[in-house]
């Protein structure tokens, strides 16, 4: 009996030691391949420090940091979506770590600042957004390889796309914002709605889309570049393209305020920004773009590897992070209520419209059929609130209010309910109209 007792006591102590000094805890949504590589390299370079990874998607990560008391928090937040860092910064959950910065990192990529002007977070890697597709799937279903977002809106793509929701994926949110900022609010939503109409599924995590394309569940989907590139390099039958409407946006790394071991946290940040840390990004299984310019990494760049500077120059979109951040919650709520949770109805409406167009052929271009179809399209593919309403400060305030504010959250609930029902009604009406048109 006594031996068992001492063994348990020893285990208990051992269990609690990771919290002692010598540990850096990193919250990140990055996959195991990446975190594993960094962990191995960092621990090798810094014997005596252990790297602990907390794998959480962006939104859960924010909630986690917020709910952990000061002094107990993890050290580093490392994620793709800059919006998350904005939110954290505003809530005073980040601490500046200027000593960890690497002076060779350029200030901007395209027009986009790499680091936070307030110094609370820094760019660590770069990523673009684009389309990933499965070559076998396309071949079997006779689809043309897409090059732009608009290509995915064609009727031939109905039921072949995979998408996810911006509320579940920081990267999807960025993609959505890129499209909205590139095409304008109304046109952007049209694109998103039509694309979603062509989707077969809304996946739970952002990884669900590249995963689905990888194993041939969908033909194509919007993904962040490294998912597509790493899959390609892992010999999956996939390809990745950057449309002209793309943004190259930094993935950021920041020191969390109230962390347990801030000094060691800074060490990790410095490592991640150093040439050694940046080189890790180039591994085929990881396939991310470094923030350090290619001239500083000469000799390490694999042939054919995309150049972020060049992509950013090519892009049509001047990404405005502030705008994105102000309407962060509104965009998410609108997307969820009108697309994610109404996917079935949206798909039905879209299908009805395509069917009608196909059936009517030339007749769809004029006369009553054309009118009905135009109406149907408007109902199915227009955003529920226009750009002006979306910018309304009252609305924005209501959505940014915390859960504690009962009246705000009630208003939000109400709005969400309204949007959801209106969207449903709209889609059903659109489908009806389309059927009517088809019957003509």
């Amino acid at each position: 009996m006594p031996t068992i007792r001492t063994a348990v006591a020893a285990a208990l102590v051992a269990a609690c030691t990771p919290a002692l000094a010598g540990t850096v805890t990193v919250i990140t949504s990055f996959p195991k391949d990446l975190t594993q590589a960094y962990k191995a390299a960092f621990e090798k370079a810094n014997p005596g420090i252990t790297l602990e990874i907390l794998n959480k998607n962006t939104v859960s990560g924010i909630a986690y940091v917020r709910e952990t008391p000061e002094g107990q928090r993890p050290e580093v937040f490392w994620a793709s979506a800059p919006d998350a860092f904005e939110v954290l910064g505003r809530e005073k959950l980040l601490a500046a770590a200027p000593q960890a910065a690497n002076p060779n990192v350029p200030a901007k990529i395209g027009d986009y600042p790499v680091n936070d002007p307030n110094g609370l977070y820094m760019g660590q890697a770069l990523a673009g957004y684009g389309i990933m597709y499965n070559t076998r799937y396309l071949k079997a279903n006779k689809l043309t390889p897409p090059a732009e977002w608009k290509d995915l809106l064609a009727p031939q793509w109905f039921g072949h796309l995979g998408m996810t929701s911006p509320s579940r994926s920081g990267t999807m949110h960025l993609t959505v914002e890129t499209i909205l900022q590139g095409e304008g609010w109304d046109e952007g939503w049209r694109t998103l709605l039509r694309m979603s109409g062509n989707a077969s599924q809304m996946t739970e995590r952002s990884f669900g889309v590249p995963d689905g394309v990888n194993n041939g569940q969908f033909g194509a989907g919007p993904v962040i570049d490294f998912f597509g590139l790493s899959s390609k390099y892992s010999n999956f039958p996939v390809e990745f393209v950057y449309p002209t409407e793309t943004a190259v946006v930094p993935a950021n790394i920041a020191l969390i305020a109230g962390a347990k071991n801030p000094e060691e946290g800074k060490k990790f940040i410095a490592f991640a920004l150093s040439p050694a840390g940046q080189e890790l990004l180039l591994e085929p299984k990881i396939s991310r773009l470094p923030v350090l310019p290619y001239k500083d990494l000469a000799g390490k760049i694999p042939p054919g590897y995309p150049d972020p500077a060049e992509i950013a120059a090519r892009s049509k979109v001047r990404f405005d992070a502030d705008l994105s951040q102000t309407r962060y919650y509104v965009v998410q709520a609108l997307f969820d209520q009108t697309i994610t949770f109404r996917l079935g109805e949206l798909q039905a409406a879209t299908k009805a419209i395509y069917d009608a167009e196909r059936k009517l052929g030339e007749k769809a271009k004029s006369g009553q059929a054309a009118e009905l179809l135009e109406q149907a399209r408007k109902l199915a593919w227009s955003p529920l609130i226009d750009a002006k309403a979306a910018a309304d400060p009252e609305l924005l305030k209501a959505f940014s209010g915390g859960k504690k504010d009962a009246s705000a959250s009630q208003r939000v609930s109400q709005l969400e309910g309204q949007w959801s029902s209106k969207a449903k009604a709209n889609y059903e009406q659109a489908a009806k109209l389309a059927h009517q048109a088809a019957a003509l």
Binding site: N134, G216, Q217
Partner: protein
């Protein structure tokens, strides 16, 4: 058995009962109570049904509620479809496939559903093996895995053994005389089955079906892995992790889930109560077995083959995935490799160690508590001791995610004394969640084991001078050892594949046990292979563990059979 002692309430048992009660209170009652409290209370502490109102007002929540019921119901139905014919074949016919059916009854249970789900996508998904072939040969596809269908399919395939086992036992216990009496009165064939046999077996069926319903209703891992989030369990998870521990809707969902679990279990208990149709008397026979006619043979074996194929598909799929180089949009993988297993063995022994640690400790705690409760229940006259059994078994009705939420809420901000760590950040909470939720299984094993020990064996020890504790140590525990070990193994293997509570409670990758590890692996393209490899290891471990558990129980029951009372010198 009571005996003369100098106090009304014997001190030893009372202390033990209080310790058990303290454990249950701290780690089951308070957390669940907190969940219920939060669902019904405003920020200022006043009672409100407003949160429930907000829940039912949201179309998404209504949908999630309906979907959960829909999925659970259909899973039970599909599971019945699979199980009832199999049970009927086993009991009704002279059958060489009996062993096969027994295997069918165990195989699904050793593969955790969320592991199988991924493989099922690859085989039955839109571009999976089956549909690709169907499309090629016949030009159509079947939406096996679309949306809710996928969840139903995977769950039914995993849980149908519950119905199979319960129904088979119930059918076997029907006295053949019942059937013969019906023959006598002119009934036969399917009518006989429908009017006499099935109604008598109904309680067994209901027990199995309601268990399936509850488990599917509560399952978090499968919907999550399949990407279906408009169900109650995933919604609770999403809300609590994204919106935070303050989000009242997460608690509302938890209360609803607990409510339905209790309802289903109570219903099944009600139906079974007083309807112990096991009419088999001493010397009576079970239902007569017939030989199969040729036509019937084909049907029977055909059905069994089909079910076997279905049942094996997740196993095969995971095996293939673990050995595949690339498997995309093709009926079978492009090539095969052992690299994934290598990766697992080199990288993941931390996870394996974690599983051994958490599950081993949890199972140990369960066995100790289970033995204590069994002893208190069966061997003392402590007032209210039935409550210990009831409370411990109540853990069955609490979904893993609800317990996790409750624990997080209860211990928020609490530090482990003498270390600087938060309870919620340490693996202790994971182990405790496992222990609490597995306790009912260990308890049943311990109770069964103790019931087999005649009380005179303890009285004999006492009359020879051994006090209560020494009697327990020298007589009771050794004789219960087989059952205790079986309870340990059951606890261990069910904890090893648990995901619902694990997802919520794991705070860092290094804490991850195998189940969470598999989930993590599945998050990246290159991780599917190793994830599947880990899944294969988990399945083997569970399979071996189940087998050992059976052996132990068999051996134990042989040993404790009462001493022969033969009449030869």
């Amino acid at each position: 058995m009571t005996f003369a002692s100098d106090s009304r309430l014997p001190a030893g048992p009372l202390l033990a009962a209080l310790l058990v009660l303290a454990f249950l209170a701290l780690f089951l009652i308070v957390p669940v109570g907190t969940v219920f409290y939060s669902a019904f209370v405003n920020d200022d502490g006043s009672f409100t049904l407003g949160h429930f109102g907000a829940f039912f007002a949201q179309p998404l929540m209504q949908e999630a509620f309906f979907n959960s019921l829909y999925v659970a119901g259909w899973s039970a139905l599909l599971a019945s479809l699979l199980a009832v014919p199999l049970a009927y074949f086993t009991v009704r016919f002279e059958f060489r496939g009996a062993l096969l059916i027994q295997t069918l009854g165990v195989l699904p249970l050793i593969m955790p559903p969320f592991v199988g789900a991924v493989a099922m996508q690859l085989i039955f998904g839109r571009s999976g093996t089956v549909n690709l072939l169907l499309d090629d040969w016949f030009g159509f596809t079947l939406p096996f895995m679309e949306g809710l269908n996928g969840v139903i399919f995977v769950e039914a395939l995993h849980y149908f053994p519950f119905i199979l086992m319960n129904l088979t036992v119930a059918l076997r216990n029907i006295d053949g005389a019942m059937e013969e009496a019906a023959f006598n009165l002119g009934s036969r064939g399917f009518r006989l089955f429908r009017r006499v046999i099935f109604p008598l077996a109904l309680p067994g069926y209901v027990a199995g079906a309601s268990l399936v319903f509850v488990k599917v209703f509560d399952d978090l891992g499968t919907p999550l892995v399949l990407g279906t989030t408009n169900m109650l369990a995933p919604q609770a998870y999403l809300r609590i992790t994204r919106v935070g521990l303050e989000d009242p809707l997460g608690y509302v969902i938890s209360v609803i889930m607990v409510g339905f679990s209790i309802l289903a279990l109570w219903l099944s208990a009600r139906v079974l109560q007083g309807k112990d149709y096991s009419t088999l008397q001493k010397g009576g026979n079970s239902i007569r077995r017939r030989r199969l006619g040729p036509g019937e043979s084909v049907l029977a074996y055909g059905w069994i083959a089909l079910v076997l194929l279905l049942v094996l598909s997740p196993h095969l799929g995971v095996l293939l995935l673990s050995l595949a180089t690339v498997w995309s949009y093709a009926p079978l993988p492009d090539g095969y490799t052992l690299a994934h297993f290598e990766a697992v063995f080199s990288e993941s022994h931390g996870m394996i160690t974690n599983t051994l640690l958490y599950c081993g400790l949890a199972a140990g705690v369960d066995v100790v508590l289970g033995t204590a409760i069994a002893y208190l229940m069966l061997r003392t006259r402590l007032p209210g001791r039935q409550w210990l059994d009831f409370l411990a078994s109540a853990a069955l009705a609490i979904p893993g995610i609800v317990l996790a939420i409750g624990l997080l809420r209860t211990f928020r901000g609490v530090e482990i004394p003498l270390t600087g760590t938060l309870v919620t950040s340490s693996w202790l909470l994971i182990m405790i969640a496992y222990a609490v939720r597995r306790l009912p299984y260990a308890l049943r094993s311990c109770v069964a084991a103790l019931q087999q020990i005649h009380v005179s064996l303890e009285e004999a020890a006492q009359s020879l001078g051994a006090g209560r504790l020494r009697t327990i140590r020298r007589v009771v525990v050794p004789l219960m050892a087989g059952g205790m070990l079986a309870g340990f193994v059951t606890s261990f293997i069910t904890a090893a594949v648990e995901l619902s509570a694990t997802i919520m409670l794991v705070t860092r990758d290094s804490q991850a046990p195998m189940s969470y590890g598999i989930y993590l692996y599945m998050q990246s393209a290159a991780g599917r292979g190793p994830g599947a490899a880990l899944g294969v290891l988990a399945v083997i471990a569970v399979g071996v563990g189940t087998y050992i558990s059976h052996l132990l129980v068999e051996r134990a029951s042989v040993r404790t059979r009462p001493a022969r009372n033969e009449e030869s010198a």
